[in-house]
Structures are given as structure tokens and as C-alpha cells.
Symmetry: C2
Subunit: 237 residues, 2 copies
């Protein structure tokens, strides 16, 4: 009996040593507010592929991602899946104001989140313009990214999709970690396919083609961008 009903395992720690705070919504809070919000948040960890919440469920919580990668997706009744986003440390899940989750979320690898009870969080935020503005920023940035993704899904070829994904993924990681020579891809080929509106076979073939063309190098658990200029040309905004 290791898991609570909501899934995830508790794990103690405090805001004081929260590494993602500067990039999270919490950056909008002053010392006093931070102490108050700390009372409301609890850390949880999830194992690889463990679900965090599901489309259609009643919204009970919202989350700050602290560590790891999550996939956010929607399913069609027949099982077709579209990943709408990968969430990284600093991202906030559960902004939505409706009473049911619009998407499902699960852990790609091991994940640590800071969980808030939605009603308490909302009450905390409702009369704090600084936090509301911060949440606005997050929402509009997400919206803008969603619009970018719509262009990709609707108007780009398979090769452009893959190149675009790799370039943007690399940029996102660069904003978090110290940039590394190889770009890790913790998600499966199937995840990438479902993110790009392709099949796993097409993703695989396109990776191979990009490698043959000298644009990337496929390594264990990730890729190395061999020709950044060419990669960005393919991803041409």
C-alpha cells in the first residue's frame, strides 16, 4: 500500500530550497505570501508513466512541476491520442477554471510536483493581483505555444515537424539546465509521434533521414544536433 488514492508519494521539503521558484508562478509572491502558500503545498513524487490526473475527472488539485517531464494529452474515444504539451520544471498545471480537467497528465519519467488543493489555491489567489497577473502570463504563454503547435500540426511536413520539435525542445532544456552537448529525449518515439501528429514509424524514419543528412546524430536516450544551422532552417519559423 504505497500509494494514496490520488496517486503519487508524499515527500517533504520546503519552499526555501525550491529550485524552480524563480521560474514558477511563485516568483510573483513576496516573503509573507510565500510562507502562507507553503502551508498549502505538498510535494509528491510519481513514477515513470504514472498518471497524475485525467481528462474529465473533477478538478481537485493544481500542480507546480518541480522535477522531471510530464506529458499532457487528450484522447479520442477510439484511442487516438494527441499530446498537447510536455511539461517541465517550473510549469504550472491546472490553471483551468472549469470543474473538470480538459486534459490528462502523466509522468514521462520520475516526476516531483508541488500539489495544491484547487479550492484553497484559488481562494489564496483570488484577491492577489500580483499572483493573478503571473498566472495570466503563464496562461498566455501557453496559449501562444499552443498556437505555434497548431501551425506545426496543420501546415508542416513530417521532416519540418521533427526538426521543429528537436530545436524547440533543445531550447526549452537550455533555459533550465546548463546546456549539454547531447539533447536528452526522455519521452518515447510514440510520445513524439503523438505530439507531432505522426505515426511512430514516420518519426523513426525521419530521425534516420536527419541523421543520414548529417543534421543530427542519434545517441542512447537522445540526440546530438550536428548541424544546428540546418536544423533551424528546417524548423524555419
Amino acid at each position: 500500500m504505497k500509494r494514496s488514492i490520488a496517486g503519487g508519494e508524499p515527500c517533504v521539503q520546503s519552499c526555501a530550497d525550491c529550485t524552480v521558484r524563480p521560474r514558477s508562478i511563485c516568483a510573483a509572491l513576496d516573503q509573507d505570501e510565500l510562507r502562507q502558500l507553503e502551508q498549502l503545498g505538498h510535494r509528491l513524487q510519481y513514477r515513470s508513466n504514472e498518471p497524475v490526473f485525467n481528462q474529465e475527472e473533477i478538478v481537485t488539485s493544481c500542480y507546480n512541476v518541480l522535477e522531471g517531464v510530464m506529458r499532457l494529452y487528450k484522447l479520442l474515444p477510439d484511442g487516438r491520442r494527441q499530446i498537447v504539451s510536455f511539461a517541465l520544471p517550473g510549469d504550472f498545471l491546472g490553471i483551468s477554471t472549469t470543474d473538470r480537467y480538459a486534459i490528462s497528465a502523466d509522468a514521462v519519467g520520475p516526476v516531483v510536483v508541488c500539489r495544491f488543493v484547487k479550492t484553497l489555491f484559488s481562494r489564496f489567489a483570488e484577491d492577489r493581483p500580483n499572483l493573478l497577473r503571473r498566472i495570466n502570463e503563464f496562461a498566455t504563454r501557453e496559449l501562444s505555444e499552443a498556437q505555434e503547435q497548431m501551425v506545426l500540426l496543420g501546415r508542416r511536413s513530417a521532416e519540418e515537424k521533427v526538426a521543429c520539435f528537436l530545436v524547440k525542445w533543445r531550447e526549452r532544456l537550455a533555459q533550465i539546465d546548463t546546456a549539454t552537448a547531447i539533447t536528452p529525449l526522455p519521452m518515447s518515439r510514440q510520445d513524439i509521434a503523438d505530439y507531432l501528429g505522426l505515426t511512430i514509424e514516420t518519426v523513426s524514419r525521419t530521425f534516420t533521414k536527419l541523421e543520414r543528412d548529417g543534421v543530427i546524430e542519434i545517441v542512447q536516450g537522445g540526440i546530438r544536433v550536428a548541424d544546428a544551422a540546418r536544423a533551424e532552417a528546417l524548423a524555419a519559423a
Copy 2:
């Protein structure tokens, strides 16, 4: 010299007789706030196909749509276009917090908007939690719609895309107008194609197929849904 630099023609009127207020962000305001905001807003009209703002331009304004339909889209350097949304009366444009528009917007048919200078609007909103929460609601609803659209673009067939579009468009109009027997489609086939990630030919063929199958009837300037059940089955959420 009929147009100001920003485009659009001024046209006087007041919040008192604003028909979209209950569905717009302004519904969050009390009488006093409404009077203040009225000082900041100015009505403008745009003609068919007139641009309202463009991707990459410095953000100077935000808008409430009062009448008409607008297309919101992104362009790739080579001219490929993806329409990310059609805006209807009550929608708010320019939520974005960045300094440049992420998308372009223009009038599909004649359009009336209520324009605010962005800096003044932001100053007005910044310490009003009621308005900020309302804007949050709008942003998250838009995000949710964007996610729906990603599923459509990435995972649905041409026929599903068209059926889905027609069903949702009809629902949106129903929330505004009194529902009519025929559903007007003010946008061109090209617009629909660019919204669904298809070509104009495929859209046209799919319309014809849906008509042959008795699902819809194509009429001047719109369609009539002949078999709502079948249409919704094709659009199956």
C-alpha cells in the same frame, strides 16, 4: 483620407447600449469601473478583409469584438497560413503579455470592435482582481479550445475535421444569435481549409460528400445541417 494609421473607422457609441457586455470581459466590472473603462475604449469598424493587427507588430491595443467575425492566424515565411481561431462578438483580443502580437487578425466581414490602448488597459486592470480573474477565465477557455483544435489537426481525418468544424461553429453561433435553421459560413473555403489544416479542394470535396451522404445541405452563404445526429457522430469528441 478615411482611415487612421491603425486602420478602422471611428464610430461613436457607449457601454450603455453594448450588446455583448454580458459575454465580454466587461461583465466582471461594477458600474463605477465600467464608467472608467468606457473612457478608455473607442469603437472602430473594419471592412471585409481589413487587417486589424499583424503578427510581429508592437502591441499597442487590445480589443473587444462587438460585431462580425475575425480570423486569427499565423503565417509561415513561405506563405503557408494556419488560422488558429475565428473570433466572434464577446471575444477579447490582445490578452498576450508579450510586446509583439503572436498572431495576425483581420476582419472576415464587416467588424466592429471596442479598442483600448494596451498600456492604459493594463494599468486599469493591474490591481483589479475581479477583472484579472475574468481575463484568466478567457485565457484558459481559449487555451482549452486550442487544445481541442490540436487534437483535430493532429489526429482527425478530413471528413471528421469538417464535420467537427461545422458542429462547433453552429454551437458557437447558437450561444450568440437566436439559432437559425441555416448556419451561415461567412468565411471563405480557403479560410476553412487554413483553419482545418487542409486544402481548399479537400474542403470542397468533403462538403460535397457530406451533402451526398445527407448530412448537410449546402446553401448560399452557409449550410443546413440535415442530420444532426450523424454530423455529431462524425465530430465524435
